[in-house]
Amino acid sequence: MSEGNGNNPGNVTSKAHSPVPNEELGTSGKTGKIRVFRGDNGGGEMVEYELPLVEGMVVLDAILHVQAHEANDLAVRWNCKAAHCGSCSAEINGKPKLLCKTRVEEYDGGDINIHPLQAYPIIKDLVSDVSQNYAVSKSIKPFTSDEQAPFTMYEEDVERLYEPKKCIECFMCQDVCHVLRTHHKHEEFAGPRFFVRNQWLEMHPMDNQDRLLDIKEDNGIGYCNITKCCTEVCPVGIKITDNSIIPLKERVADEYYDPAKWLMRKIRGNRGSRNGAAASNGR
């Protein structure tokens, strides 16, 4: 790891300051290039920037270097720089990536072309308008319980909920989803992220809401043809298709496409009772 690091970090001169100045470490003397989309919704161009390479640097480091030294107005979203917040999603060579988690070295000196997320309108440079996601989020019935916390829930009741709860809302699954990216069904289709959310809500043993009709009608789960593109890009490893979308599709099918239940609904005229979601997920 330390190859190319010519100094001695243990060499401390003063007691009252940081032992290791940042830039003295890891500079390789080499330079690299990135190409960044510069423009807005009306169009733009790829602009090439050259910068000094530092060992272990991520693509976001490269962009922030360009921003500080060459293009102060280069727009990019980022916050935690630790892959916890999901702000810095963009596309590198056409694939959605977290800029803070993608190392320059991965491209081995090859091209690094950076675009904003393509499934949404571009605001400027690497920043897209992702507000649709917040509108969908607001429309989903929130967690609601008849029980009073503190709940008694056992690890085995809830362990399947940890996975969908890991979502950092980077919206890369949304970006890569054909229904949104290619077919622009933003009005009809909530997108993978929100099936992940619906999944834990529907599986939570203490939740008392029924969201199946919403998932079918408002969120348009039928549009998904399970190509698994979303699963492939999830930076926190949620198996979106297998663990979120398919189980929800099955429940919707059981509830709305089961002839016996269809008949019952016709007779009783209701939207369908709470299906097995809570009951089958109890202990």
Partner: protein, 600 residues
């Protein structure tokens, strides 16, 4: 909404939006305040510099401290009180600590009621893990992503209310009338449009200011907007000299230097060793070892490296390999991923290299312990931007419960204030126009001037050099000279480009806050001539009994300069003093290195 135009040479339009309560910041404190205010039927606007759900709360990893006593039945709010006061070296506002430790359990249960999911005990209760300085296992957690769970829960709770969220919007000034805060001016980052917010009360919940240092665990947002906006509006600040250095930040590779390594690693049994393989904490705090308080462990890690016992890249070793791959994936999966992806280190097989990183600001806006009201009518503050709860050193896990306890109180306080007071939020339009002019200056300069990025870098380097976790008077004075020189250069800042999502322009706003806060920190660090918690003066021997009775209160004086007042703390009531017993004397010695090689 209505639009106003004006003519003063050029025409500059701005929108006007009205809310009962304007909340600045959408981390845990701001969102909890919003929920409280909407429960009173009030119109709430929430302004955030980022997208919703990206605030720094999301970075909290280890857990939320609350004496729910699920795993250690002996725990109580009283012991949580004692631990928090001890850690804060008794500079804490005892009334805030009492309120906080009593209410924290309810705030945790409330999160669960709203859908948050914590790891469970075998009895089906919320599980709790040990953490530095907590006598009992006290941190409710979900793996090492507790902050994500908290913010997502609060975000979804707020989206279910009528509160209006203004994402990627920046406040530049609080507006006052007749001594009261009655709104703020803001611009949207997306397109640079200005908004005049009229509000009956404003809740400041903007978080901390770690970005004044180069090596920090804070995101770009941690520029302390709220503390300077409040200071400019006339509010009192306290304990500004107290900056927390988290003992364990990443050191390698350089791009991730300062990134947080959760205290949960030590909570789960992580061992600190130096290059000689020695568990050196026995020289600093043999009783608590790795689970000592953050100030003590940070100084220990720093000292080991200073004295030549550091790791290859200038850190110390933190070893969690004994937990094994399965244990790590269950308890610390985020850390495993972070080191594997960013540093090519498999923490189940080899130790991490860590070094202190600027993490948290104990000081901030002085608030009323009951209502979270600042000293300016109409202005409330909660979370990291507020001061008083943590004293000279914050305990890990206390920040998340702080957000919820005082976030709620700020929302309630604002609602009560609005119910009691009737006043107009109309202000002289000229003030809005003048502020818009000031904010636009860096974009409208004809000739190129100073780069805001380079001023920020110079400032960060000066603060690293002169106001780090070991301080001395001469170095602080030199640092103050550098900070003031940078302050003089601020008017020359210019940035290229348009108002459309222009980070250079945004940085030009931020850097003003960073420089002002740095000046305040250095000046108060010069005043506190002792060693206490996070303030560690090498040119003074130990804690000073007299200084232990006072807080340094900062307020803008009549010449617009930093005014500093030594203010005596109120005496602790009997029922709380009894809880502390003999602890006070015993613990004050903590953090001094023992043994013959000590240089202190």
């Amino acid at each position: 909404m209505d639009s106003n135009g004006h003519t003063n040479g050029q025409r500059e339009r701005y929108e006007t939006r009205e809310h009962d309560v304007l909340i600045v910041g959408a981390g845990g404190a701001g969102l909890r305040a919003a929920v409280a205010a909407t429960e009173h039927g009030l119109s709430v606007g929430i302004v955030t510099k980022s997208l919703l759900g990206k605030a720094h709360t999301v970075m909290a990893e280890g857990g939320i401290a609350a004496a729910v006593a699920n795993v250690d039945p002996e725990d109580s709010w009283r012991q949580h009180f004692v631990d928090t006061m001890n850690s804060g070296k008794f500079l804490n506002n005892w009334q805030m600590v009492e309120t906080f430790t009593k209410e924290a359990p309810d705030r945790v249960y409330e999160l669960e009621q709203w859908g948050a999911l914590f790891n469970r005990t075998p009895e089906g209760k919320i599980s709790q893990r040990p953490f530095g300085g907590h006598t009992y296992r006290r941190l409710c957690h979900v793996g090492d992503r507790t902050g994500l769970e908290l913010i997502r829960t609060m975000q979804e709770k707020v989206l279910a209310t009528d509160a209006k969220v203004y994402m990627e919007t920046t406040i530049t000034k609080l507006l006052k009338k007749d001594g009261r805060v009655v709104g703020a001016l803001a611009y949207t980052r997306e397109n640079g449009k200005f908004i005049h917010f009229k509000a009956k009360a404003v809740v400041m919940a903007t978080g901390g200011w770690g970005r004044i240092f180069k090596v920090t665990s804070n995101s770009w947002e941690g520029t302390g907007d709220g503390v300077v906006l409040s200071y400019d509006a006339g509010a009192e600040l306290l304990d500004m000299e107290m900056m927390q250095f988290h003992p364990t930040g990443m050191v390698w590779p350089p791009g991730v230097r300062g990134l947080l390594v959760t205290e949960g690693v030590r909570g789960e049994g992580g061992l600190l060793r130096n290059s000689e393989g020695k568990r050196y904490m026995e020289n600093y705090d043999p009783k608590k070892m790795e689970l000592s308080t953050r100030d003590v462990v940070a100084r220990a890690n720093y000292t080991e490296v200073q004295e030549g016992r550091g790791s290859e890249h200038g850190g110390v070793y933190l070893d969690i390999t004994h937990l094994g791959y399965d244990g790590i994936m269950k308890k610390l999966p985020t850390m495993h991923e972070q080191f594997l992806k960013l540093a090519d280190i498999d923490i189940s097989k080899e130790p991490m290299e860590v070094f202190p990183t600027v993490h948290y600001t104990m000081g901030g806006v002085k608030i009323d312990p009951e209502t979270a009201a600042s000293t300016v009518p109409g202005l409330f503050a909660a979370g990291e931007v507020a001061g008083g709860l943590h004293g000279a050193n914050r305990l890990g896990g206390n920040s998340l419960s702080d957000l919820l306890v005082f976030g709620r109180r700020a929302g309630e306080g604002a609602a009560a204030y609005i119910a009691e007071s009737v006043h107009s939020a109309d202000i002289d339009e000229k003030e809005v126009i003048a502020e818009i002019g000031r904010v636009l200056e860096p974009l409208e300069k004809k000739e190129s001037g100073e780069s805001p990025y380079l001023i920020q870098q110079e400032l960060q380097e000066a603060m690293m050099e002169h106001a780090n976790l070991m301080r001395d008077g001469d170095s602080l004075k030199e640092g103050l000279g550098k900070v003031l020189a940078l302050k003089d250069r601020l008017p020359q800042i210019s940035v290229p480009g348009s108002r459309l999502f222009n980070p250079g322009w945004h940085t030009a706003q931020d850097v003003r806050y960073l420089v002002q806060i740095s000046e305040i920190i250095v000046r108060t660090a010069l005043e506190r001539t002792e060693r206490r918690g996070a303030q560690w003066r090498l040119d003074y021997d130990g804690p000073d009994e007299e200084l232990g009775k006072i807080n340094f209160i900062v307020k803008k004086d009549e010449q617009n300069e930093v005014g500093i007042e030594r203010r005596e703390m109120p005496p602790m009531p009997q029922h709380l003093a009894e809880l502390l017993g003999g602890d006070k004397v015993a613990d004050m010695a903590g953090g001094e290195k023992r043994g013959p090689e000590s240089q202190f």
